[in-house]
Amino acid sequence: MTDRLVKEIEGHLPHIPLEIVSQGAEALVFQTSTHPYIDDPYLKNQKKYIVKFRPSKPYRHPIIDASINKTRTIGEAKFMTKLNKLGINSPSIISVDYSKAIIWMEFLGSELTNGDISSFKNWLWYLERNESEAKCVDEQVEQVCKKVGELIGKLHMNDMIHGDLTSSNIILQDFEPALIDFGLSSYSGLAEDKAVDLYVLERAILSTHSVFSDTYNGWLLEGYGSIHKQYSKQGGTKKYAETIKKLEDVRLRGRKRSMLG
């Protein structure tokens, strides 16, 4: 299965060495050492780049398929550009091929000592496995958790919803968190949608970092709240109260609002 898809993108991007990083239902993510048009771009990492490719799906009508892939590629690119403009940490876009549903973007993060990529998840796991319990909840972890909360707070203050907030979709670049993967992102001012976004992260933390999940979630919400206070002129305090109230509802009933489907 993957082989066919890898062949497809190799046909689209000749002479570009590609190494698969992850495969989802919707897209393949590759890492490459080649920049499409310049050797020394204005990016922190000039040796690695990410290529996200949405392959065509053979079970869809070709015309519909192409249009779906194009729309989703545009949507994602637009979301990322908007974040870039707002100064919310996320990868910058390098190049987009809409007709082939390929996005080139900046590579964020570094390698942990065990060779894993420095995502929020891998870092917490690394501490859990290699360090003492005290290290897992020390000041640095607290700082990072709060920064993650602030990052999500900034996102929500701008009425943007990530849609798939998990600890692996948060990358740490020099201990500064950045968001990645905007395949499910949307725009909404509703407290409901923001609460669901927070709930998804809360559940993800609970299941992947269960030992200290309460502490982590507490810090995340603390950071989330502090950013809303900073934006109090734009109604931040009110928005925060609404979202947290909704979050309590969502915790009781789960992510889905309707009982159908």
């Binding site: 991007l13 000749p14 002479h15 570009i16 080649t34 920049h35 499409p36 048009y37 310049i38 771009p41 204005y42 545009i74 690119a77 637009k78 990322m80 550009t81 870039n84 403009k85 707002l86 100064g87 910058s92 876009i93 390098i94 190049s95 987009v96 091929d97 007709s99 082939k100």
Partner: protein, 197 residues
């Protein structure tokens, strides 16, 4: 010699020739304009004024996208030269792009680009091309300096005008002057890629 060349890993069959000329007379600019409209073969280049070009990366992004569009048969403009100008713009209007980025009598500096087939380039091709341009633009070699990011950003471009043109005045900046060229480059590439959507 004042020209630079580049090529893109995806398209080794093409080589891009880029040369910068300064101190161009107003009359010459006017001639170029009219010859371009008359589609004179001698003027088969992409001519850009330097007011809104702040980095090579911005320029390369546009050239790369134009070659990509050409190979995908998705060019919006009639020629590759115009397509490069169009892809520099964040507005979905070719005439507007030509006005902002094309030859401008009020700007004495010109960036000249030509996309060549790599296997048709012989040892003297590029030199001859540059000589041809020196004659065409009526300038001497001292006004044909090598293009680089420093000249573009600190001498040739207007940062204020560029920010305004790409509607980037309300973007968030770090406030660090040494980061401005990098930040603007990122924002401009984003703005051009999302043109029309």
């Amino acid at each position: 010699m004042g020209f630079i060349t580049t090529s893109f890993p995806q398209f080794p069959q093409f080589t891009v020739f880029i040369s910068l000329f300064t101190n161009i007379k107003t009359e010459t600019s006017a001639t170029i304009k009219s010859e371009l409209i008359g589609a004179n073969k001698d003027y088969d280049f992409c001519f850009l004024n330097t007011n809104h070009i702040i980095s090579l990366e911005q320029l390369y992004a546009s050239i790369h996208r134009s070659i990509l569009n050409q190979s995908n048969e998705l060019m919006k403009a009639k020629t590759l030269n115009t397509e490069i100008i169009f892809n520099l713009s964040s507005v979905n209007n070719i005439m507007d792009a030509l006005k902002r980025f094309g030859v401008d009598e009020s700007c004495p500096n010109l960036i000249v680009i030509k996309v060549l087939k790599t296997d048709e380039i012989e040892s003297d091709t590029l030199k001859e091309l540059n000589q041809h341009l020196l004659k065409l633009l009526d300038v001497d070699e001292s006004h044909n300096i090598e293009l680089n990011d420093e000249i573009l950003f600190s001498k040739l471009a207007s940062v204020q005008k560029t920010k305004k043109l790409y509607k980037l005045n309300d973007a968030t900046y770090s406030g660090n002057e040494s980061e401005l060229q990098a930040e603007l480059t990122r924002l401009i590439i984003g703005a051009t890629l999302l043109r029309g959507f």
